[in-house]
């Protein structure tokens, strides 16, 4: 129990010496490949146990050309949307014998490229990329050398990657439709990062419904997809509050960022201005008034992505693209005759769209 940091960890050779056999026999025993006598097997196992032997993953990977490691790249680990995805992915990866390497890109395309390179150096068996911010060409170049790729919220030619997309467009259409039904006409779209694929889908959803009603966006403003972005955006919107009556936000963080400044400025939500978020992060239901938003099954998303990735690594490219539908969660930042009960309330989108 006197644990001093061991200068060198034991190798197969050490175990072999201790058990009085060849390294190969140790390998055979430890990998359960058979071809070793029962008595020898016991001796080897005891020796390995005694030395606290652990196979060197580098040596194994070098030989086998498989790292049993998969990567997941997220734009910002501090955004509550992503940790749940990571958790889902990990929940699937670990029982399958894979270690998950999660990489944070801090919303920086350069970093995204760099990180995909680092993952390549580590010879990951596959990568999941969430909300890739790179442009098409650089993205393709970055994923090309990878053995298996799954993209979340980004589409790309099928041969390059599997995709899982949230049908933001439909979700946003449901939200906007519901607001129009309640008489709102003067919409603002609080877009997130300009290069976001999901952001474009959301905008399409807003514009589609508006144009169907002969309306157009009053403002289309971009900001960073975090609380600070929402706060800054509020600075621009407050002076023009009279011109608007609804804000559709790229995500919940932006929406939450808007709320305090609006309250301070005496802009009442939802009476004067309605606010809709996206993602349904935990904080959305905690604030006052609780935030109307699009719920996405984040952990499921991570699990599905990882299952798809493992399939692709194994050469089974059965599922090429999955689309999941968000649920419109009506809370109190949008006016409503019937605000849903909080517990377990879900309005299936399919139903919500006409």
């Amino acid at each position: 129990m006197d644990a001093k940091p061991p200068l060198r960890s034991p190798t197969v050779t050490d175990v072999a010496a201790a058990a009085g056999v060849s390294p190969m026999t140790v390998s055979r025993v430890l990998n359960g490949r058979g071809g070793a006598g029962e008595e020898t097997r016991q001796r080897v196992l005891e020796a390995a146990q005694a030395l606290n032997y652990r196979p060197n993953a580098f040596a194994q990977s070098l030989k086998s050309d498989r790292s049993n490691t998969v990567g997941i790249v997220v734009p910002d680990i501090v955004n509550p949307f992503f940790p749940e995805i990571i958790r889902g992915a990990e929940l699937v990866a670990r029982p399958a014998g894979y270690t998950l390497l999660s990489c944070n890109v801090v919303e920086d395309p350069e970093r995204e490229e760099e990180v995909l390179g680092t993952l390549l150096d580590r010879r990951v068996d596959g990568v999941i990329i969430c909300s890739a911010r790179l442009d098409e060409e650089r993205l393709l170049r970055a994923i090309a050398p990878h053995r298996a790729v799954v993209l979340i919220n980004r589409s790309v030619a099928k041969r390059y990657a599997g995709t899982i997309e949230v049908d933001y467009r439909a979700g946003v259409e449901a939200a906007v439709s519901s607001l129009i039904a309640q008489g709102r006409r003067r919409f603002v779209f609080a877009a997130g990062p300009a290069y976001s694929h999901g952001g474009r889908k959301r905008r399409e959803g807003v514009e589609a419904v508006l144009s169907r009603h002969g309306l157009a966006l009053v403002h289309d403003l971009s900001c960073t997809p975090d609380l600070q972005g929402g706060i800054e955006l509020a600075g621009k919107l407050v002076p023009r509050a009279g011109e608007i009556d609804a804000v559709i936000c790229y995500n919940d963080l932006i929406a939450l960022g808007l709320m305090k400044p609006f309250e301070t400025a005496g802009i009442s939500v939802p009476d004067q201005v309605a606010i809709v978020g996206c993602d349904d992060i935990p904080a959305a239901s905690l604030v006052t008034p609780p935030l109307t938003t699009l719920r996405i099954a984040k952990q499921d998303l991570g699990e599905m992505a990882m299952r798809m990735l493992l399939d692709r690594i194994a050469g089974r490219n059965a599922q090429q693209g999955i689309v999941i539908e968000p649920d419109l969660i009506l809370r109190s930042t949008t006016p409503s005759d019937l605000v849903q009960e909080e517990a377990g309330s879900k309005l299936e989108l399919a139903a919500a769209r006409i």
Copy 2:
């Protein structure tokens, strides 16, 4: 640009062949060790570029016995406290040439042990462990084989690991003192995981101040350190609301979890019951009323931990233990004659304690 997944990635030998030199020369050039002629250098660099060569990290690690990888273990990546720490750690690790392997333990000691083993298999050069949940003996056994270890919020004999601790005890004392000054007498401690070291410190802080005033805890209840835990705890506290006038919570999530049920039950916060959280996660300032809490510089914490770890990896064990002080952020879940302004308000603890 026709990017089909390459069956085999190029090796030094491929580059060497392309440049008409030996593999050794390629290695020399790419590692900038000198000992290569300028003209040769150019040829090699061009060849490497053309083949899109990337050194195999496994082979390098196998030779050098260094992985340039460090691990960080957190109890729950979905708890907003931890992603900020991870981000801080990554911000320091990457420029130093290290890849960060972050592992999620889902509040399970078994998993913690398993994960430390996995990291060992990957031959990480060091590990940061946040809020280790393992008991002393198993923790020591688990960290012993690691080359360098830094513990966040857990102490252990100096020879085994560097430590960074938040002085929760002092922080909680400040919070409780301030409540007592305002006439609160009937305290509940909403403890988190029973095996949490930081939790014990917090309890000590509460009890120290209470006993100084001849008081004792009315209830000492444990729950999971997440929203759900707070909600469940509220179920127990609501019926006994008459017996209490202040709840000190293990963390903000528990505190936030209490608030909605309290509101629903007509228990007014802070008039009837004051609530104090811990961590100052973003949601704490967004809810109504905003949550009084202990602010911890989470990203700094991650950065410091990583710097300490890199020092230890390099053999510089200068800093053995660091203690950081939390700031008591007085918001509106505690009564106050002078509620602090939100922007930039910090009450330095040293000052807050008498």
